[in-house]
Assembly symmetry: C2
Homo-oligomer: 357 residues x 2
């Protein structure tokens, strides 16, 4: 079933008219759109059931599983967008890097990337290396009808940090040492990762994704000086390539603890800037000169608080979002694994009710 | 041997005239003082030898070990200050809480503190509960002569996060849920921890510590709104109690990722504001209205970079520090365990040479 066969694909039911895409473009919306980072994942019992005995990267490369897992939170919560179920290392695995996701640890790279010769293990990504991803996106777009699908990719710095450290890292010491100690190799590595990231997003957009989010999850560990000199040019390359290839597809740019970097990350080529819970949305709008839609920023930890306390925070955030050219309600970071899924459903309903026009 | 017996304790050799205390007070210095958070610790082979087979909290409660471990980096690196070797949970263990430091994990609390009844397990701290700490400080002050000893304590929020979560936590979900869900209990818990923290510092000051540092390591995980409403009053209580008790003892206030909170943390009652690597020192001075000395802010990850790259960063930081009313050179966070100790020694010498007046 293709998009054009879908009963809901009359023009007014196309994702292009959805609250999410309208908010991303700064247009009036019938209600504030809501989705949650990591909405597809461990907080859902139906996800845990589906993943039983299936390795993370196997799940990410199996179109039927990707489709089903991506749809689960849309069905359950009534969120305003789906986001492709994937992992930041899927495209580097697709080009041949030996990497796996260890449960309770995260991505582990068999041979970390630290020398120039290691770049040979990281060829460019071509669409025919990820036919499964295109297939999943096509199936999803057909199923989703008017609900937009957000494409997913990691940004060069965050990807590089996994590749250089060999796995998750609190302090990124080897990454920063490489960045400062061998800037030429660092830039070549990030340029390669930018190609991989952009090509991975392009596959998703070509298959029908209506928006993309570039995750630079660890960028907030950098000083602004380091971000501008060593990271921003490569994220910019990804976002600009997307802008050229698909100018109508909004680009969301997100990182954690990036209060110092919001304007730089927006100016790197985003339409929407992701904001974590450390910076109020009004501040975020001011820091980005009122020129970008904002996405965020409920503290995911507060989903563990009693409803009354949570409701107050949600009201405040919906209210603060009115100050932005466009507001997509989301968490400030991903859904935590032990989150009560029913609370998420309730959040969606409350945001919709509070923001109804 | 008491301080007054020490050959170096003529007035001009008293710590009160040291570069560290002068910088903290905004007075001219012969050179920029340097010390490193976690300078006493795993980066030193002599520390690892001494700790072999000795549990962390046992080491922290054994005056001979505390004294020797605290002195090791002063002897080796020629830093401008010692900081009492301790751990954030030492004072709560001293009041009777069942807590241990698990290697590779961190503090683990046998029964987390989550209900009002749990406060009963957390009585006030009286000096006679930590005679070993006073003894170590007295021995250190005598040994150190003109080199100041910095007293050490955790701030109420960071301490509370360990107690409520039961151990280290990335997201502090239970802590934030308690803060928002039962503000009365949260405030009572933090008030108790403020008493414990202040009393612990007071013991160190009474025994001869020349300055104190209050570590609110995880405060940067809070929004400014949460910090002001739920945390600042308790850190303020600690700092104010110290200011009343020992007005001449400078107070350093530190957290990681606290760019949004610098002014609030300074105004909570600090003389010196700790700055991590995410915010430049010039920015930090501007954000704190030029009214506070600054401490920081070399990225500890850069100690893994080649010396040439590291040297450039050090020059920049020493230079930026000139814009502050006073500058204490330090890292933006603690020394990482795998750091080459010789690099630290070299950093001290370079900062001294660059800043010689």
């Amino acid at each position: 079933m293709t998009l054009s066969d879908h009963p809901a694909s009359t023009p007014e039911h196309h994702p292009g008219h959805s609250p999410l895409l309208r908010a991303a473009r700064g247009l009036p919306v019938p209600h504030t759109p809501v989705w949650f980072m990591r909405q597809a994942g461990r907080s859902l019992p139906e996800y845990r059931a589906l993943r039983e005995g299936v390795a993370m990267l196997t799940a990410c490369r199996t179109p039927e599983l990707v489709t089903e897992i991506t749809l689960q939170p849309v069905r359950r919560h009534g969120v305003d967008a789906a986001i492709l179920f994937s992992d930041i290392v899927v495209p580097v695995q697709a080009v041949g890097l030996d990497v796996e996701i260890q449960p309770g640890v995260g991505p582990v790279v068999a041979q970390p990337v630290r020398e120039r010769a290691d770049l040979d293990r990281l060829p460019e990504l071509h669409p025919d290396m990820v036919p499964d991803v295109a297939e999943a996106v096509r199936a999803l777009v057909a199923e989703l009808g008017p609900t937009p699908l957000i494409g997913f990719a990691g940004a060069p710095f965050t990807l590089a940090s996994y590749l250089v450290e060999g796995g998750p890292s609190k302090n990124h010491e080897r990454t920063k040492a490489l960045m400062h100690g061998d800037p030429a190799l660092w830039h070549d590595l990030c340029a390669r990762l930018a190609q991989i990231s952009a090509a991975f997003l392009q596959v998703q957009v070509d298959a029908g994704a209506s928006a993309v989010q570039l995750f630079d999850s660890w960028a907030g560990n950098l000083s602004r000086r380091d971000y501008l000199a060593h990271v921003e040019p490569h994220s910019r390359a990804v976002l600009e390539q997307l802008a050229t290839h698909a100018p109508d597809v909004p680009r969301i740019h997100f990182g954690v603890g990036t209060g110092e970097l919001l304007l730089d990350m927006a100016q790197a080529g985003a339409d929407v800037i992701g904001v974590d819970c450390r910076v109020g949305l009004r501040d975020a709008v001011a820091r980005t000169q009122g020129r970008y839609a904002v996405q965020g920023n409920l503290d995911p930890a507060l989903l563990f608080a009693p409803w009354e306390a949570l409701e107050g925070e949600i009201r405040r955030i919906v209210d603060e979002g009115q100050a932005a050219p466009g507001h997509i309600f989301n968490l400030g970071h991903g859904v935590l694994p032990d989150t009560d899924a029913d609370v998420l459903t309730r959040v969606v309903a409350l945001v919709h009710r509070l923001s109804q026009h």
